[in-house]
């Protein structure tokens, strides 16, 4: 796991532990260096002390040319196992005695060198004069193997360093575990609060202030922002409620207006139709043959306008009537809709295909109207096709809504105008080709949106069209109060 994705607690602990290890290593290194030089000095001092003792004891042996005695003195060096070679030279510089008895040639210099001990690779060796009463009787040579001592010392140091490091790591771990909470706990609390807020959208929650440090200020800023969000949210909701009420009021007025207009238009229209009819039926003296033709046109137009007004009234009623929600069997609705169109379809060759349709919750009468409108559309626009194919089914895929479609192989439409399809009085075909008022699809949209669903369509000119409507699976009531209440 990369460090930036590690939890903050572990990050803090890692930082503390890494710092202590580095500091410890640096200290250990410095101490080691110091010890190394101290150790060398001590070794040098000890060897020259030992040399002094040997030299002092060798004076008589050298003075009285007693090699055996000299050898015995040197052989006592075996008590110090790191001394690998020793030798005594007489006054004239000749080798007088050596230790140990057998030595590889070249181990001991043939003639004494300059006084003093020097470190060379892995050993400390040197010469020391043997003096009695101020005059030199000979020279002592000593060679100390420092390699082994050094190795033992280094190994000892490493062991101690490891032990100390283990102890320090344990202590640092325990300390960091409790100390890191000073920093991580407030951050974690803040993070937890933020998470709870984003999950529950409850902006009234406030984070607890840990103290007066940066985290305290961060918490303050966080709480302040929460306060602002809460205020803004409340204001927004308030505004939405106000606007919705305004819109509903305007809508109500508009609907009342259009209802009364439609209603009031019907009476004069009936008169126009009625009197035009009477005029047509009257004898020839009153109206000429040509005039009779005009009058027939007037009567037809008045009738058409009557149909329009009826549809408008139905549309407006659809928006105002109360919904009766219950389980609806869509299969039955489809069957009823097809049945209602028998007059239209009995002269036609139409292949009906109905797929699986799930049961839904909704207003049965309204949904029936949806199917009637969509199927009527399909029947209408497939008139040039023989046979016409009309398919009703359900599209799978979405989990939270049921999408039902009505597909035909009719004349279709240009997708550029798809946005206008569901508007009132919006028609994509001329009335001479396909009759209609342009209210059917508007009605469909209105019903479906009152159910909380959507409507859309797909088509290619000449290749048929598919109309979709969806219904939510768990139906949430929308802002309907403006529409469900009857007009005042």
């Amino acid at each position: 796991m990369p460090l930036r994705n590690t939890p903050i607690q572990r990050k803090l602990m890692l930082i503390i532990l890494a710092t202590s290890v580095v500091v410890m290593l640096l200290m250990r290194g410095a101490f080691f260096t110091y010890e190394y030089f101290t150790f060398r000095q001590a070794t040098l001092r000890q060897l020259s002390t030992l040399g002094e003792i040997i030299a002092a004891n060798s004076t008589a042996a050298l003075a009285f040319a007693n090699q055996d005695d000299a050898k015995e003195i040197l052989s006592a060096l075996k008590a110090e196992r790191h001394i690998v070679a020793a030798a005594l030279y007489d006054r004239k510089g000749g080798l007088f005695a050596q230790y140990p008895d057998r030595l590889a040639s070249g181990t001991i210099p043939a003639v004494p060198g300059a006084e003093g001990y020097r470190f060379s690779n892995a050993s400390l060796a040197g010469f020391q004069p043997v003096v009695q009463k101020g005059s030199q009787l000979g020279t002592l040579y000593l060679r100390l193997e420092t390699g082994i001592i050094m190795r033992e010392w280094i190994w000892g140091s490493v062991q101690i360093a490891l032990a100390v490091m283990a102890v320090i790591l344990c202590v640092a771990y325990l300390l960091s575990r409790s100390l890191q909470k000073q920093i991580s706990a407030p951050i974690l609390r803040l993070a937890e609060t933020a998470r709870a807020i984003s999950e529950r959208h409850d902006y009234s929650v406030r984070a607890v202030r840990p103290g007066d440090d940066e985290l305290g200020r961060l918490t303050d800023a966080f709480n302040q922002m929460l306060g602002e969000i809460q205020t803004l949210n409340q204001e927004l909701e308030q505004r939405v409620v106000e606007r919705t009420a305004q819109l509903a009021a305007a809508n109500k007025e508009l609907e009342a207006f259009s209802y009364s207009v439609s209603h009031d238009l019907r009476a004069p229209l009936r008169h126009i139709d009625g009197f035009a009819g009477l005029l047509v039926k009257s004898d020839g003296a009153v109206v000429s043959e040509r005039g009779r033709g005009f009058l027939t046109h007037i009567a037809d137009s008045a009738k058409q306008m009557g149909v329009l007004i009826d549809d408008l009234l139905a549309f407006s009623k659809m928006g105002r009537s109360e919904m009766k929600i219950g389980p609806v069997d869509l299969h039955q609705l489809v069957a009823e809709a097809i049945q209602s169109m028998q007059m239209e379809t009995q002269q036609r060759a139409i292949q009906w295909r109905t797929g699986d349709l799930p049961p839904v919750q909704g207003d049965r009468a309204m949904l029936r109207q949806v199917f009637v409108n969509l199927i009527a559309n399909a029947v209408k626009y497939t008139r040039p096709r023989d046979p016409a194919v009309i398919e009703i089914g359900c599209q799978n895929g979405s989990t939270d809504e049921v999408a039902v479609f009505v597909r035909d192989n009719g004349v279709g439409f240009d997708m550029n105008y798809a946005g206008n399809l569901f508007g009132v009085f919006q028609r994509l075909h001329r009335a001479e080709e396909f009759e209609g008022t342009g209210i059917g699809l508007a009605n469909v949209r209105r019903i479906v949106s009152r159910h909380g669903g959507r409507t859309w369509a797909e088509s290619q000119p000449g290749a048929g069209a598919t109309f979709y409507f969806s219904l939510p699976k768990s139906r949430k009531p929308k802002h309907e109060n403006a529409q469900t209440h009857p007009l005042g």
Binding site: A60, A63, K133
Partner: protein, 193 residues
């Protein structure tokens, strides 16, 4: 700490070693001296000179701080010029070295080391009385039966020169022998030397 342990071990070794050395100083066996290729008398001459380094004379033995330390040879001199060559220019402390030869025992005056060669063994009988009360280190290589009261004897055995020391005689003459001198020597009671 590791370094401390090593140091202690090191010192320990030194101490053991020192103990061994000291033990030898007290119980040293007769160590055979060696005659090198050099002549026997050259070696003996060097030894005579070296005795001056391992023996302390009482202050009264010297008339002044710069008075010479005299090595005397009684009777016929077996060393020839060897002894003079060895001591030439040498000093023990502030005392220069001087060689004197005595033909008769009565001639011995200020003398610190007296060598009585085998040829002068005849004088040995009179030696104790003539050196009594004087701090003279007497050295001889004469035959043992004739020697009495001589402090150091050279014994030649197996081509090596050994030292035999009569400490009581030395003590009687107020001479202090360095313990180091005793290391390579054999110590005998008075009358046996």
């Amino acid at each position: 700490m590791a370094i401390l342990a090593t140091r202690l071990r090191f010192l320990d070794g030194g101490r053991t070693w020192l103990a061994v050395i000291l033990a030898w100083g007290v119980f040293a066996p007769v160590a055979p001296a060696q005659t090198a290729a050099t002549g026997e008398y050259e070696l003996k001459a060097v030894f005579l000179f070296n005795f001056a380094r391992f023996v302390e004379w009482p202050a009264a033995a010297f008339p002044g701080p710069e008075a010479p330390l005299v090595i005397g040879v009684l009777g016929d001199d077996p060393f020839g010029p060897l002894l003079d060559e060895i001591v030439r220019g040498e000093k023990i402390g502030s005392h220069p070295l001087l060689v004197r030869r005595y033909r008769r025992i009565e001639e011995i005056g200020d003398c610190h080391i007296l060598f009585i060669g085998a040829a002068a063994a005849g004088w040995l009988g009179r030696l104790p009385e003539s050196t009594a009360g004087r701090s003279i280190l007497t050295v001889s290589d004469a035959d043992s039966r004739a020697v009495r009261g001589v402090m150091i004897r050279f014994l030649t055995a197996k081509n090596k020169i050994k030292l035999r020391i009569n400490l009581e005689a030395a003590k009687a003459a107020s001479l202090t022998f360095s313990s180091k001198l005793l290391r390579p020597a054999e110590i005998v009671p008075d009358g046996e030397s």
